[in-house]
């Protein structure tokens, strides 16, 4: 696979996180676009590529938004694939810029959160879900992931206090990130263990809070970013693989296993060189699965790995190994803003690698790994994607 030479990511924007919002998806997407052009110091007429991800656009699509926002893109993409939509948009946009199909592409994920809208999304998520999953208890994603979590615990001996390590360190990170919806609340091991049961092994703090919000970034040529005097980061390598290991009766691994060795090869670095990791944390077990599949530990060693690893952004934890993980708190502490959640890891990594994160800055971070997972069509998440980024001076 060819590299992404000369293409950079810049201007990370996260805005508008709210538990409920009167605004629709177009408001969040348009607001991110406004902040993107403001941050880049360009006019919106200079944005000639437009990639959008959203669950709640309803009958509108990306093309309708070009008329809403008076854009003239010569390149357009809509990636509605939940937790991987950000990396999908990044990959498609990077190739388009590399091939001069567009010069500045805005990649934006945004979703509203109207009263009771999550119920509607969960009840109508996919035709397989409507026919064969939702009627069974109507637990939404909690039901599917409680089965995956229970199976993982039975298979590898993981316990609730292992999952707590992920949730607690992420909450500590969120306590230092202003955009996190739950960032004002501390979370202790007792809070976690005593939380209200939701589904089987899943308790309240294993579950994300659905919310509204928007995330976005710009993809452009390196020369253009220099000309505009924008801090940026590069894409070392990225890959994706979907519906892999379909024969596993219950999911405990996914596509990352297949392409990670080649991905690290292309980037010329290994897991030990990663300064920060952003996994898609819709549930802690999924983050643990990604740590294993991304090569940080062997399959099944996830529980021990998180016990031995300090995942705080400032490395202030007591564990010996350090791996800042979901440094803005992830979805577990920021809230899950629909499709924007698939962009959260990317915007956060760009902030970290360009040294523009505020009080949750990881010092001296050079390499960041972002991983995406998503779309529970029936009983498991189908998508997997990963992108390795580096700061401009790395």
């Amino acid at each position: 696979m060819k590299g992404y030479d000369g293409v950079v990511l810049t201007c990370p924007i996260s805005l508008g996180y709210a538990k409920q919002s009167p605004h629709g998806a177009a408001w969040f997407i348009g607001s991110v676009l406004r902040e993107l052009v403001k941050a880049a110091g360009i006019g919106k007429q200079h944005v000639d590529g437009f990639a959008v991800s959203s669950f709640s656009l309803g009958i509108d699509s990306a093309i309708a938004l070009t008329q809403h926002f008076d854009l003239r893109p010569r390149w357009i993409e809509q990636a509605n694939m939940g937790g991987v939509s950000g990396i999908i948009a990044l990959r498609r946009a990077a190739r388009a810029v590399q091939c001069d199909e567009a010069s500045i592409i805005a990649c934006i994920g945004g979703d509203g959160a109207a009263h009771r809208s999550f119920e509607a999304t969960a009840a109508n998520f996919s035709s397989w879900s409507v026919d064969a999953a939702f009627p069974y208890g109507a637990g939404g994603p909690n039901a599917a992931f409680s089965l995956i979590t229970q199976h993982y615990m039975d298979k590898f001996g993981a316990r609730r206090d292992d999952f707590a390590r992920i949730a607690l360190d992420q909450r500590y990170n969120a306590n230092h990130y202003a955009g996190a919806l739950l960032g004002h609340k501390r979370l202790t091991i007792n809070d976690y263990m005593d939380a209200r049961p939701i589904a089987g092994p899943l308790h309240l703090f294993d579950c994300v809070m659905p919310c509204a919000g928007g995330e976005g970034f710009l993809v452009m040529h390196e020369d253009r970013a220099k000309q505009l005097d924008l801090p940026y980061c590069r894409i070392l390598a990225s890959d994706e693989l979907h519906n892999s290991y379909a024969d596993d009766p219950v999911q405990y691994r996914s596509g990352w296993i297949d392409y990670m060795p080649a991905l690290y090869d292309r980037a010329g670095i290994g897991p030990e060189d990663i300064d920060l990791l952003q996994t898609y944390d819709d549930y802690p077990v999924i983050s643990m699965m990604q740590m294993e599949d991304l090569g940080f530990c062997k399959k099944g060693d996830g529980p021990q790995f998180v016990q031995d690893t300090d995942m705080r952004f400032d490395k202030s934890g007591s564990a010996v190994n350090k791996l800042p993980h979901n440094t803005c708190g992830g979805q577990l502490s920021c809230g899950q803003a629909g499709s924007a959640a698939g962009y959260l890891g990317i915007t956060e990594t760009i902030r970290q690698l360009t040294n523009t994160a505020q009080s949750n800055q990881v010092l001296g971070a050079r390499h960041g790994l972002i991983s995406g997972y998503g779309m529970v069509n029936y009983d498991r998440g189908l998508c997997s994607a990963a992108a390795l980024l580096s700061g401009a001076r790395a």
């Binding site: 069974y136 208890g137 589904a199 009983d379």
Partner: protein, 181 residues
């Protein structure tokens, strides 16, 4: 009734939590409706491909293996192995919310010997993952076919036996609310 009262009443009626009778989710795709119809006369009928023999679930229009357009519903074996179970303490649907107030609602995933992995209601709270089970279909209170798993030793051979299991779970009756609309 003035406009304000009218709108308030309309709002009330659109809130499932205020209704006297709550039922399980009724919504299905056209393929799900076919699944219900095909399962009325039998314990378990799934789509089978006439071209390659693949057993398909959830229902689709084309065979997921060979993409042939020859799926037909046939009676299949009810035996399977329980992969994982979970007890739901939270639900997005009013019927289950009411059922949950007494006991958590049990569901599980089962690998059928016939091939596919299915999600099903768990009929007995003693079932553990790895156990052998029988999975059968039955009509719920929304008149839709749902799958129910019981221990391999439980008798489910007759329609009466299956009806009694479903009645024991109160799946065939709405969840009532005193004084509801």
């Amino acid at each position: 009734m003035n406009l304000r009262e009218k709108m308030q009443r309309r709002l009330k009626l659109s809130r499932p939590s205020l209704r006297a009778r709550a039922r399980p989710p009724k919504q299905r795709s056209p393929l799900g409706a076919q699944f219900t119809a095909a399962n009325l006369p039998t314990a378990l009928a799934l789509q089978c491909c006439d071209a390659c023999g693949h057993v398909q679930y959830p229902p689709t229009e084309l065979c997921g293996q060979c993409l042939d357009d020859s799926l037909v519903y046939r009676q299949v074996g009810t035996e399977g192995t329980l992969l994982a179970t979970t007890a739901l303490n939270h639900s997005l649907w009013e019927y289950y919310k009411r059922r949950l107030t007494q006991n958590p609602w049990l569901i599980g995933s089962i690998a059928l010997d016939a091939g596919p992995v299915v999600l099903a209601h768990i009929g007995e709270n003693t079932l553990k993952s790895g156990e052998r089970v029988n999975v059968f279909s039955h009509t719920d209170a929304s008149q839709q076919a749902v799958l129910v798993a019981v221990a391999a030793s439980t008798d489910m051979s007759t329609p009466m036996a299956r009806r009694n299991i479903v009645a024991g779970m109160a799946l065939d009756v709405p969840a009532h609310k005193e004084g509801g609309l």
